[in-house]
Every structure is written in structure tokens, then in C-alpha cells.
């Protein structure tokens, strides 16, 4: 059979993405352990000793934390879940998301300028849900230390890099956003 692999553009690894601009950096992180939890969130937090789930642009702290996505759904970061253990138990449905969502950190004094380009939401108004449309993508946005953390579908990492590189915040971004060969 003919090898068609060279026909396709090599996939961009999120952790290889690094865009640096004036007073802003966008950096892909190595895969973070993540679990999606749906159902009785309070019971799950109590059973796993998790703090209150943070909302939009709220501060999350290591080693493991929860980010609220919906009334009955949250994303737990820092906890690994084997696919064998996934499913419905004790009022909650759990799904491993480590390979599904790529995480990025946006740092620097102009980090919020990138957010302003990506969405029209009010950054000074708290929201219980950290889920948003970021540059047209479903994403999760919160603060982690000095950085903003953004989780998006792993398959959209290259799009995020290309979109960010096209903004005026990253004058030299086009090269960095190119796929790795």
C-alpha cells in the first residue's frame, strides 16, 4: 500500500509551542493529568480532598485542583485516572482527559491583551464557570501562579499557535507556530 503519511502536515506537539512577544509569552505545557467529573461534584471533592472548584480567571493552586465547567461538571487537574477506572460511580461520571486537552500558559504583563483578542467577556467580572469560547474554541481559562492557564482540545493546539502568531502581540510568531518536522 502506498505510504500517504508524508502527504499530511506533521502534527504539532503542544509542548513544543513557544511564542514570545513584547511582554507576553505563550507556552505549551507537557501533558497535565486531568479528569472530567460530572454529577455530584461536592461528593467527589469531599472523597478526593479537593478544594472548591475555581471559576473564570480565578486562582488555582497545586498540587491538584478543580476547575468548574458547568453546574454539574468540573475538570480536576493534577490527578491521573486510569481508563479502566473511568465510568459511573458514587454519583459521579469520571473520564480521563490527560490526552484530550492541551494546556498552555500565558505569562507577562500583556497576558490579558491576548485574552481581550480572544473573547469579549468582562475580565473583571467573576463567573462560576471557567469554560469559555477562546478565539472560537471551547476552552478553560483560569489563573495559576503568575500565569494564565488555558486548556483546549489537543487537536486545536496548532490552530491556537497560528491564531496567536497572527495577532500583533507576537511580531515574530509565524516561525514559532510552524509545525515541527
Amino acid at each position: 500500500m502506498r505510504d500517504r503519511a508524508p502527504f499530511w502536515t506533521p502534527a504539532t506537539r503542544p509542548e513544543d509551542i513557544l511564542l514570545e512577544g513584547d511582554w507576553i509569552t505563550l507556552r505549551g505545557l507537557p501533558p497535565l493529568p486531568q479528569v472530567m467529573v460530572s454529577g455530584d461534584l461536592d461528593a467527589y471533592r469531599a472523597a478526593h480532598d479537593l478544594p472548591e472548584a475555581v471559576g473564570l480567571l480565578a486562582e488555582a493552586e497545586d498540587p491538584h485542583y478543580a476547575v468548574r465547567l458547568a453546574r454539574r461538571r468540573m475538570l480536576v487537574v493534577g490527578t491521573e485516572l486510569s481508563p479502566r477506572d473511568a465510568g459511573w460511580s458514587a454519583g459521579c461520571a469520571t473520564s480521563p482527559m490527560t490526552g484530550a486537552l492541551a494546556a498552555f500558559e500565558i505569562t507577562g504583563p500583556r497576558a490579558m491583551d491576548l485574552v481581550a483578542r480572544a473573547t469579549a467577556l468582562d475580565p473583571y467580572r467573576p463567573s462560576p464557570s471557567a469554560a469559555l469560547l477562546f478565539a472560537g474554541m471551547q476552552g478553560v481559562l483560569y489563573r495559576h501562579g503568575e500565569a494564565l492557564r488555558l486548556h483546549i482540545d489537543r487537536g486545536l493546539a496548532a490552530y491556537l499557535a497560528n491564531w496567536a502568531a497572527a495577532t500583533s502581540l507576537f511580531p515574530d510568531g509565524a516561525d514559532a507556530a510552524a509545525p515541527q518536522t
Partner: protein, 91 residues
Amino acid sequence: MHIYTCPFCGPRPETEFHFGGEAGNDRPDGDVPAQAWADYLHYRQNPKGAAREIWIHLTCHEVFVMTRDTVTMAAQPGEPIPSDTTDRGDA
């Protein structure tokens, strides 16, 4: 850019929402005349002024009722749909 208010998330840009149809247009139940089906499937109230509509917040999947003025486009904060209308208890 319009700002709509999700009952759970609060004010968000309109691009995060999807229109779900006219509120109160319930599916006819049981043996009903053809006109009732026609009303359900094809005819809308299209009021000039306040209109009650179903909207969906795409990021948190909240389904809610929003009153929107079709003349001024002013939107009231979304109202949660009472659970007894979504849970018919016939599972």
C-alpha cells in the same frame, strides 16, 4: 456584540450562545388534530416586542429561557428552566 446572561455563568458574549426556539412551543401529546401539529412544527408567534425564547449556553450546556425584545434587542437575564418541565419522569 450583545451580552447575554446565562443563569449559571453570568454575562457572556453572544457568540457563546445558540438559539433553541420559541419558549412554550410544547410538542403535542397524544391524539391531536393535524392543525395542532402544524402549529407546533411550522407556525411561530413572532411577537413585536418581548419574546420568550429558549437559548443554550454552548460552554456550560445550560438550557434556559431568555426574554428578548425583538425591537430594541435588549435581553433580560436568563431564567433556569424548572426541572419539572425537563424531567417528565417517564424514563
